[in-house]
Amino acid sequence: MRVWCIFLAAMCCSLNAFSDRIVQIEIEIPDIEASPYFRPYVAIWAESLEREPVESIAVWYQTELKPGPEGDGKKWLKDMRQWWRKLGRESPDYVDGVTGATRKPGVYQLSWQVPDSLEGAFLLNFEAAREEGGRSYQRVEVGATAQGEVKVPAENELGFITIQMESAE
């Protein structure tokens, strides 16, 4: 019986080299000198190579309820325009576990379990938009190999990004 289990596990691994993959993401929110400075809205999500949306990995926006028409800041989610088109407008992703308040400048770590359905290479998307500031968008292909590291240089509203593919094997 025990031998069977090991055998089956080995079978699974050999059949699907892309199971149990984890993406470690390190992302910097740049310290931008601006007056007034508002923390950016940030969305990180995965897509297939055909740009079919997979799921949101993180959505940071103003979750705090404020008086007046501003409310809880959801009215500006659409300003993360790529994310809004791909996932935001269609799915309730932005109210489940992946959302959080805006972050102050600094370096943040995230990890994401790649769904087994997503085999081989796929796309990671990063979008940041800041009030009285700008918008930046990066799309990175990762996952062609089970392990590896991709570094994305900083650009305006997005600081440096490091993506580390890890396999549980």
Partner: protein
């Protein structure tokens, strides 16, 4: 000296939202855009205007002033809760909004109706004279009261100190007042240009005068202005910020910033055609307890023609 900076669109925090944060929250762009800045011909020509407060330049977000469309459509006005001092103050402020037309003969007309469309307010006038008109959105000055609460947190409230302090909680410290004077304007000329609104000299408060005429602007050409306060050229460096409309469709706002020299002058070259929003601010010490600081902010919409 022209400096391009990486700044872009956005507006999470509107004037009307009254989030208690920094004084700079008031610096969100206000603007008025006329349907034309140059008209020709001998018959009175209607010119329509849109005005709004927004972060994306010339993309309306928050209307201010005017008769609500629902009132015109249904004859019913929306019930508003004006029980709080803040709501009452803002309501009065909005009700003071006028579309003012300064004609080439020096007359001023504030009688045009304004319609509030929720995201922008609109009005119109007809140009019956030849020469240069000044279009302005005018409001009462806005008073703010800043204070620190018992927990040490800084707050900003609408209204003059003399009103606000009557209902502030106990333990409040550091109460101080500020007065904000906005000029939201554009310039429109029928046939030959003239002194704008019939006046050649700078007005009291913060004013900008062009060398040449602001209805004769072309891409590739330079602009030179002098910034005045109470009729005198400003001595300190005042920053002029120029943003071309359409920030919504570019990730980089492509802002031009220029500072005045010791004679209050500044110059730049128009990089391309379009409507530009010229913004500048000046802070002064104020004489009254309601306004120990006075902040003057000008927003001037300028149309630049292709070469």
């Amino acid at each position: 000296m022209t400096v391009f900076r990486n700044h872009f669109p956005f507006k999470w925090l509107a004037f009307a939202s009254l989030s208690l944060l920094s004084t700079m929250a008031m610096a969100h762009g206000r603007w008025i855009i006329p349907s034309d800045t140059i008209v020709s011909g001998d018959t009175p020509t209607p010119v329509a205007v849109d005005f709004s407060i927004s972060n994306d330049v010339f993309h309306p977000d928050y209307s201010y002033g005017g008769i609500p469309l629902t009132l015109l459509s249904t004859g019913q006005s929306e019930k508003r809760d004006l029980s709080s001092p803040r709501a009452k103050y803002i309501s009065e402020l909005m009700a003071s909004t006028r579309f003012a037309v300064y004609a080439p003969d020096g007359s001023v007309d504030r009688s045009a109706a304004i319609v509030n469309l929720g995201r922008k307010s609109v009005s119109a006038t007809a140009l019956s004279q030849d020469g240069s008109y000044r279009f302005a959105v005018e409001q009462n000055p806005i008073y703010f009261t800043f204070y620190t609460d018992a927990e040490g947190e800084l707050h900003r409230e609408f209204g003059p100190v003399s009103d606000v302090q009557t209902w502030l909680p106990e333990g409040t410290t550091g109460i101080r007042g500020m007065k904000l004077v906005n000029r939201v304007e554009s310039i429109v000329t029928r046939n030959a240009v003239s002194d704008i609104g019939g006046a050649a000299s700078p007005r009291s408060g913060l004013d900008v005068l062009f060398e040449g005429h602001p209805n004769e602007l072309f891409a590739g050409e330079s602009a030179q202005v002098t910034v005045y306060f109470d009729g005198e050229p400003v001595e300190e460096g005042v920053t002029l910020k120029l943003t071309r409309g359409g920030t919504r469709w570019r990730n980089d706002r492509e802002i031009i910033e220029v500072a005045t020299n010791k004679s209050g002058q500044a110059s730049w070259t128009w990089p391309q055609a379009g409507f530009y929003l010229l913004e500048l601010e000046l802070e002064k010490d104020g004489p009254s307890p309601d306004a120990t600081k006075e902040r003057y902010a000008n927003y001037l919409s300028l149309e630049v023609n292709p070469e």
